[in-house]
Every structure is written in C-alpha cells, then in structure tokens.
C-alpha cells in the first residue's frame, strides 16, 4: 500500500492513543479513504493487518457505515440532504435540478467522472435547508435556482471540490 507519509504518520500516532487497537478501526478507515479516495480490498487487508485483526472485521465495518466507500467518487462528491426538514424546504426539487444540469442520476457517478450525486440523511443544519454538500464543504438554502448555479460552476471547474489540500 502506497500511503502518503502524512497518513502513515497520523496512523502511527493515533493507534496507541486508544485503549484497544480495534477501537482505531473506524478512524483508520477514514484516514485511508481520505488518502486513497476509497477503500480497496488491499486497503481493507492493510488496515486489518495494522490492527492485528482479520480482513472480515474491517469488511463488516465498511459495509455497515454509509460514508465508507469501496469505489472512488467523481471529482465532485455531491450529497443532497433529503430528510423531512430539507424535503419540506424543497430538497427533492433541488436534487432533480442537479440531476438535470449535471446529466447524472442520483445514486450514480456521471459518465465523464465529474460528479457523484447522492441523497443523504439529515446533516444537522435543518434551519438552513435545503442542505447540499460538495466534498466537505456545506452549502445551505440551496433552492433549485441556486442548484443550477452550483452545477454550472462544477461544469466550468470554477467550484472547489471541497476537499482539504
């Protein structure tokens, strides 16, 4: 596994802080996913070995937690909150507009690899609904018109991918 030196350093610091090695499983999944973009079989085996566990112990976590991925996302990872408060504020219309403008069906990655569009559950900012995330960046009060603007900026490459450097 070719992890960035910063990632390895973070992992080495993190594991001994926990009372048991296994407790570091989720944080390691996050760190490796941030490094690699997703969790490949190789990555899962690597994490298991690092924590003296079996690959299945990591596999069962990866399949349980929605934020852990076994496939890479597009350049823009767009998550639209669809739970009741956001829905009352028009989240479904927002998402339909994104689907149309970005030519991608929700739940999928566009053919050109530009966007992955997903529905997610409440992001705990329901007072400023509808909420849309791009990478780790949050956009609030996104009505269909603002969704159109976001989509245009993604297509032109103007929008940040929302990932930390």
């Amino acid at each position: 596994m070719n992890l960035k030196p910063e990632t390895t350093e973070k992992i080495d610091k993190l594991v001994p802080r926990y009372p048991t090695k296994r407790s570091a499983a989720l944080p390691l999944c996050h760190l490796v996913q941030e490094d690699q973009g997703y969790l490949s079989n190789e990555a899962i085996e690597w994490i298991a070995q690092r924590l003296e566990l079996e690959p299945i112990n990591i596999q069962e976590i990866v399949t349980f937690y929605p934020m852990l991925r076994t496939e890479p996302t597009g350049k823009y990872h767009v998550r639209v909150c669809r739970t009741l408060p956001c829905a009352l504020a028009g989240a479904y219309q927002t998402c339909h507009r994104l689907e149309k403008e970005l030519n991608v069906e929700v739940g999928h990655t566009s053919e050109d690899g530009l966007v992955t569009l997903e529905y997610v559950e409440c992001h705990a900012d329901c007072g400023r609904a509808p909420v849309v995330m791009v990478g780790e960046e949050e956009y609030t009060d996104i009505d269909p018109d603002k969704a159109g603007e976001l989509a245009a900026k993604m297509k032109s490459g103007e929008l940040s991918d929302g990932m930390p450097d």
């Binding site: 989720l26 408060p85 009352l88 479904y92 997610v120 559950e121």
Partner: protein, 454 residues
C-alpha cells in the same frame, strides 16, 4: 410580543466578534469553572449536578445527576466519559452550533464532568459528516492541552484526563448510546440489550461509562458556575435550565432559539419568535422533538392532569415548551427539533419520507425492526406512487404496534411512533388518498399526483 431568550449555552456563540479560539474564550471568563472544579471534591460536583435537576438534552431527558450516581465505582475498573456528538435526529441542529461556535465551552464542561466522575479518558463521538466540526474540536483540544486544561496533571490538581475525538461514518444508530459504544470499540454499531449493558455499569470496554449529550455537558459548566440550587431556579421544578429549540420546516425564520424551560409556548415559538408561517398558510401539524417524537395536530385539544395535580386544557399553541408538558400531550421534547408543517403538506408523503429514513437506518439486529420498518416504508412509498389501498392505514398501524416494545433498543419506538401518531391523527388523509387514487385508476389515469417530499 417577541419573547426574550434566556441564553446560557448560546450566550456568546452568536455575539459579533466571538470566535472559537481559546483566547476569545478566556477573555469571556472561560475555564474559570474548571479551575474552581478541580479544587472541589468530585462528589461535591456530583451533588451540585444532582441539585440542579439538569435532564439530558440528547433525547430521553434522564436526570444527569442520577445517571452519574448509577456509576459502578466498586468494580475498580477505569471509568470513561463519552460525549455524544452524533446529532443525527432529523430536525436537530444545536450540538453542531455549539461545536462550531463555542467548542471550548464543551471541552470545559467535559473536563468538569470527567473530573467529577473521575474518568480515566474521555471521548467525543462526533458524526462523520461534521468535517469542519471535527477539525475545530481537534484544534481546540490542542489549545486546551497547551494551557494544561486537559492532559497530564490538569492545573496541578494531580488529576489527568485526555479527550479523543472519534468520528462516526454516517450511521444514525451511533447516536444510541450502546450502539455508539460498540462503534467506538471498532464494531458495527449494534446496540446492546439493557439490562445488563447499562453503560454506567457495563459500558465502553465493559467498564463503567457515562454517555451524555453535547448540550448536557455544557450545562454542567453552568451548574458549577451558579451552584446546583441556583441553576434549578431557571425553568420550573423538574424542568430546569434552558433548552435550545431547533425550529425547521414551514416557518418564516427557522433557526435555533434558547429559552428557559416552560418560558415559552409552542404558539409563541412559532408565531412570535419564528415569524409565523409562510404568507397565506395555516398551521397543520408540528413534530415537537425530532422526527421520532409523536406528531401533534394543529386543531387538537389536549386535556388532562399534570404531575403536580393541576388540570390543563390546551390548544397546540398553549403547550409550554418543556419536558413534562410535551410528555403530557402525548409526545416528547426529545432532542429539541421542532418541525413545523403548514396546510400545503401531504401527510402521507411526510410519513413516507420519515419511514424512508428509519428503514435506511435500522441496524438490522432485531427481526421486528429489520423487517417491519422497511415494510412500513414500502407501504407508504406505494401509497405515494399511486397504489394506495384503503386498508393501508390500519396495516401500517398494526406493523408499528408489533415493532414497538419488541426490540433491543429504542430505535424500534423511534420508528414506530411517527407511524402510530400520523395514523392516529391523520387517518382520514390516508383513506382519502386511497379513494382518490382508486378513482383515478378507474378513469385510466396511471400516474400519481406529483410528489414533493419523497
């Protein structure tokens, strides 16, 4: 008349120029209570928390002092403190504000609580989607460590404790305290059966553990500042302190507002504080405490007797916003998430939306929950898609009845209460939808009406 907020937890958070760095916090008197706490006897702090009557802000409203009392101190095993920052109940968004705007308040509250229960190590379990909140907390903890507010030999007291921020990864069930513990141990977040796994006795690593919500732990700081008895004067007996109500849905000014318990009614909150409904709209229903609490219908009357014997006869607008009043009207204050719906809302669609959430989030351990909740989701989805049947309302109700009370954790109730209450209060709409769709089908119209909430 606009109501005055009583801001305790959110006092500085929204003040212009108030930042989340430690210098700003110290300038506003930060960490003075921790300095005071470490000179007190731990049991005296526990006694103050008991006197304060402060009830948990995470959902169930259990008195914090009592929970701390249940800690198994005889086992000799290390004690852990866990801050529940998973905040995933739809409609709730207060913990995020505290973390973003005043992280040191939380850290101070946690360190006081950790000292009071003599925890060996503390964790903040933060939901994975709070990327920025996670970074803010990491930075704040570093700042606090530099000033010796946490770490080894805190403020020369001889007491040492560290905080680890642990990220979840998108599963709502991690908010349930025993699911959270499993997740923290590196497993799937499958809740544990209580008894015997009450965290206070058999929690993290099978050791005595206290799990408290973000807001509850902030309250602990204010209890130490004021003294338990003085804190208990805010609000009403049994409903002490303030609550941060998160209002979302069809109001002009959604947002979070902090009031002393019972200091405001639901009507005042909606109309005076949140600017009322959108123009030309009428109130239809309110979910008062996050999506799992039972829905209230705008034209209901609530009558009965309160704990202290006084009789009440309230319309929805008269309900005082506190733990016991919302319980009295058959719902709960839960996590403080008030979801407002006006007369444009289709109740079948709204329930379909809620069912989708719970069906997605069941951990899958208990058969009634794993099978029943997706079944309810399928029925409401079918109703939205144009194939509603007149018997659907009763069927939904009977499925919900068979889940609640038959599962390992309270998720079973959380998923059943919306269904039971929607059917109890809006059955006419469910039946009407079935009739209308049957008529459309007869006319040869294949498509359902356009939907907006699912």
């Amino acid at each position: 008349m606009a109501h005055e907020e009583t801001r305790l937890i959110m006092k500085y958070a929204d003040e212009p120029g108030y930042t989340n760095d430690i210098d700003c916090y110290l300038k506003h008197g930060g960490y003075e209570e921790l300095k005071k706490a470490v000179t007190m006897k731990p049991e005296d702090i526990c006694a103050e928390v008991m006197d304060s009557g402060v009830r948990g802000r995470g959902g169930a409203g259990f008195p914090a002092g009592m929970k701390w009392k249940f800690l198994d101190r005889k086992s000799g095993k290390p004690i852990y403190l866990v801050c529940n920052a998973d905040e995933s109940e739809p409609g709730t968004f207060k913990d995020r504000q505290i973390i973003h705007k005043d992280p040191h308040q939380l850290i101070e509250g946690m360190m006081i609580a950790a000292y009071a229960i003599q925890a060996k190590l503390a964790f903040i379990y933060i939901r994975g989607e709070f990327f920025q909140g996670y970074r803010i907390l990491e930075k704040a903890i570093e700042e606090a460590r530099e000033k010796n507010f946490l770490g080894d030999n805190i403020l020369d007291s001889g007491y040492s404790c560290d905080i680890i921020v642990h990220r979840g990864a998108g599963a709502y069930i991690c908010g349930e305290e025993t699911g959270l513990i499993e997740s923290l141990e590196g497993f799937r977040a499958n809740p544990r059966i209580k008894p015997p796994y009450f965290p206070a006795a058999l929690g993290l690593y099978q050791c005595p553990t206290i799990v408290n919500n973000v807001e509850t732990l902030c309250d602990v700081k204010h209890v130490v500042a004021m003294g338990g008895k003085e804190f208990a004067k805010i609000g009403t007996p049994g409903n002490t302190g303030t609550r941060t109500w998160c209002v979302s849905g069809h109001v002009m000014k959604p947002g979070y507002y902090e009031f002393a318990c019972a200091d405001i009614t639901l009507g005042e909150l909606i109309y005076d504080v949140c600017g009322g409904l959108k123009p030309g709209r009428k109130l239809k229903a309110v979910i008062p405490g996050g999506s799992s609490s039972k829905i209230l219908r705008a034209d209901e009357r609530f009558t009965g007797k309160l704990k202290d014997g006084t009789e009440y006869d309230w319309g929805i607008e008269d309900i005082p916003m506190d733990f016991d009043s919302l319980m009295a009207v058959g719902s709960m204050s839960g996590s403080g998430g008030v979801i407002v719906m006006d007369d444009s809302t289709d109740m079948v669609e709204a329930l379909a939306n809620i069912n989708y959430f719970y069906a997605h989030e069941s951990c899958g351990q208990c058969t009634p929950c794993r099978e029943g909740v997706p079944w309810m989701r399928k029925i409401t989805q079918r109703m939205v898609d144009g194939e509603a049947r007149e018997e659907d309302a009763d069927l939904l109700n009977s499925i919900a009845d068979q889940i609640a009370g038959r599962t390992i954790c309270a998720f079973g109730e959380a998923a059943s209460w919306p269904v039971q209450s929607f059917i109890a209060k809006f059955k006419d709409e469910f039946v009407e939808k079935a009739r209308e769709q049957a008529a459309r089908r007869k006319e040869g119209e294949k498509t359902a009406k356009e939907t907006t909430l699912i």
